[in-house]
């Protein structure tokens, strides 16, 4: 923990250019590495795969205000793959929703920062998740409520690919299309890896994009680590308001992205970097410091 405080004070956080998505994505990974090391928590591979998605959302896409997290017309973000919660915690802290120092308490006894994302006491988190297959339904309800209230904010839901094994995701997909929730955007962190095997070896999702289209959604695929491409795809999804269809962006990512020995290695769904592994990961991330 001393180490982490030292690093915080050395200033890898609260960078002045935090509104640059590439910088925020790096900060998510950098904080994610520390949180994983200190907490001995798992899911670092998922945090690294979703980093650019979360970073792009929090740098100009989501209409949110760290000084007023309950702003009535804010956009709502639900991290349905709640196990990547430290990515959202890091993004919220780095963009000013709460002090970055809080991140070091992730997983700790008495902390508010649980392993899976929680809304209790954390400004900027709409709802707790952790059990997969819940978020898209909640998002559909929020989108419907906004429309009933005549409000024009958007609802964003970040899903995992493995999460799409859950039947409730497809119940929500049918409902969102049926109710023409065109201010609802889903983003799938499509890293092709689940808990034990690849998606392809578990439950094949392909043809994934056309599945969503067949369910009545606007769908497109994008490189989930290319911040410009992500931003453009998100803007197109926002422009779909009025199309009468919800939108999904399938963001093709690499599990463990950013640390060579974690990339596409199923081990890092659960493994936590300690000792030499931590040092090696740190060295690689520091070499990428924007």
């Amino acid at each position: 923990m001393e180490n982490y405080e030292g690093l915080v004070h050395r200033g890898f956080s609260a960078a002045p250019d935090v509104q640059d998505p590439a910088v925020l994505a790096w900060l998510i990974r950098r904080n994610g590495l520390e949180m994983s090391r200190i907490s001995r928590g798992s899911h670092i591979g998922s945090v690294f795969s979703v980093a650019e998605i979360i970073a792009v959302l929090y740098t100009g896409i989501l209409h949110v205000d760290p000084a007023n997290p309950q702003m009535p017309d804010r956009d709502r973000l639900i991290l349905s793959k709640g196990h990547a919660g430290s990515a959202v915690y890091a993004a919220l802290a780095e963009t000013g929703f709460f002090p970055v120092e809080e991140l070091k308490h992730h997983y700790a006894n008495g902390s508010i920062l649980s392993g899976h994302v929680s809304h209790k006491g954390i400004p900027g988190v709409e709802i707790s998740t952790g059990s997969l297959g819940h978020g898209l339904s909640i998002g559909a309800g929020m989108a419907m409520g906004a429309r009933m209230n005549g409000e024009d904010w958007r609802t964003w839901v970040v899903l995992g690919d493995g999460e799409c094994d859950e039947g409730s995701v497809w119940e929500a997909a049918l409902q969102a299309a049926q109710f023409k929730l065109d201010r609802l955007v889903a983003v799938v962190d499509y890293n092709h890896m689940q808990s034990l095997f690849t998606v392809e070896k578990t439950l094949q999702l392909e043809p994934f994009e056309s599945k969503w289209r067949d369910f009545g959604w606007n769908a497109e695929s994008v490189d989930g680590h290319d911040v410009r491409a992500l931003r453009a795809a998100f803007e197109r999804a926002m422009d779909n308001a009025g199309s009468g269809k919800p939108s999904v962006v399938l963001a093709h990512t690499v599990k463990g992205k950013g640390v060579s020995f974690m990339e596409n290695n199923i081990l890092w769904h659960y493994r936590t970097p300690q000792g030499e592994e931590y040092e090696a990961a740190l060295k690689e991330l520091e070499a990428q410091r924007p």
């Binding site: 709409e126 709802i127 898209l136 339904s137 998002g139 559909a140 929020m142 609802t155 409902q175």
Partner: protein
């Protein structure tokens, strides 16, 4: 009870435009008055209970009071985790409504028997649980569910039950139980639609020279601890009646309170004793098979009093 619920909800919807209702593709005919008056506030979510409850939580987050309607176990057991994580934990204003508590759909088979729902819903922190005993209690509890902030469970019976209360249940505040009939030798405590049988059992006991008090618990969580204490002290012998498995249900809730009082009061639970039924039959037939009809309740009460005298 169904119609009483719809009537009460209609009144509430007229007064409060935040109230909406979602149905899991059920309620043919029953919900028609609501569709007619408030077509924009009734959502048929399809046969997709898990996502329906998730959506309800999302709608509640935008300020709505969301009633979620289905039958039997479909609005509870099927989307249980959505109720727990998405509604109860954040305290969402979602009101889960089950039509068909107990053996209402008796002949349809085991899938349609709601006989563990009270135990399961009662176990969820933050969920207020109602099981009205007749149409008047159904109306009162529907109004109470609107007034109660957070997640509620409303376990209704069917349509066209006989009335137990002569008039409406006025000035009722949860969790107070309602005394249906006063007595002096044994108290029959009842929660849910089985109240008609419980009340009838007391009338049968009277003919046998036994004075039984009948108390209905339209709210089974939270429990009125003081009322249960008073009953246990006054009678020293309580018989609980539920159209439900006795494991973890209404009778268990009474036992939990009485056991901690340590006042020596005996509690006997009438209900299903840890089984599913494969017997085919309508509600009343199944009640008779499993000892929950009025005569069986009266026989059990009489036997308990006899044992008490013998022990003394």
């Amino acid at each position: 009870m169904r119609d009483a619920f719809v009537r009460a909800l209609m009144e509430e919807m007229a007064a409060n435009d935040r109230i909406i209702l979602m149905t899991g593709d059920l309620g043919f005919g029953v919900l028609q008055p609501l569709w007619d008056h408030y077509p924009d506030r009734i959502i048929n979510a399809g046969i997709a209970e898990q996502s329906m409850v998730g959506m309800a939580a999302g709608l509640a987050a935008t300020g709505k009071i969301v009633f979620v309607y289905s039958i039997g176990n479909f609005p509870t057991l099927r989307p249980l985790e959505q109720i727990r994580n998405d509604c109860a934990y954040p305290g969402a204003n979602v009101k889960i409504v089950c039509v068909g508590g107990g053996f209402v759909y008796g002949s349809l088979g085991m899938s349609h028997h709601a006989t563990e729902d009270m135990a399961i819903m009662r176990a969820l922190p933050g969920v207020t649980c109602f099981a009205p005993g007749d149409p008047a209690e159904a109306e009162a509890t529907t109004h109470a569910a609107v007034r109660t902030n957070g997640t509620c469970y409303l376990r209704l019976g069917r349509g066209n039950e006989p009335k137990v209360h002569e008039g409406p249940v006025a000035d009722w505040h949860l969790p107070a139980p309602l005394t249906i009939r006063e007595g002096s030798q044994i108290a029959l405590l009842s929660s849910g639609g089985i109240l008609t049988q419980t009340a009838e059992a007391a009338r049968m006991l009277e003919k046998r020279g036994i004075s039984a008090e009948v108390v209905s618990f339209p709210c089974f969580k939270p429990m009125d601890q003081f009322a249960v204490k008073e009953l246990s002290e006054r009678f020293g012998i309580l018989l609980t009646v539920e159209e439900h498995n006795v494991t973890g249900g209404f009778g268990s809730a009474i036992c939990e309170i009485v056991a901690e009082l340590g006042n020596g009061c005996r509690v006997y639970r009438v209900g299903l004793h840890d089984l599913y039924t494969a017997v085919v039959g309508n509600q009343q037939y199944l009640r008779e098979v499993y000892g929950m009809d009025a005569e069986s309740i009266a026989d059990r009460a009489e036997a308990l009093l006899h044992e008490k005298r013998t022990d003394a």
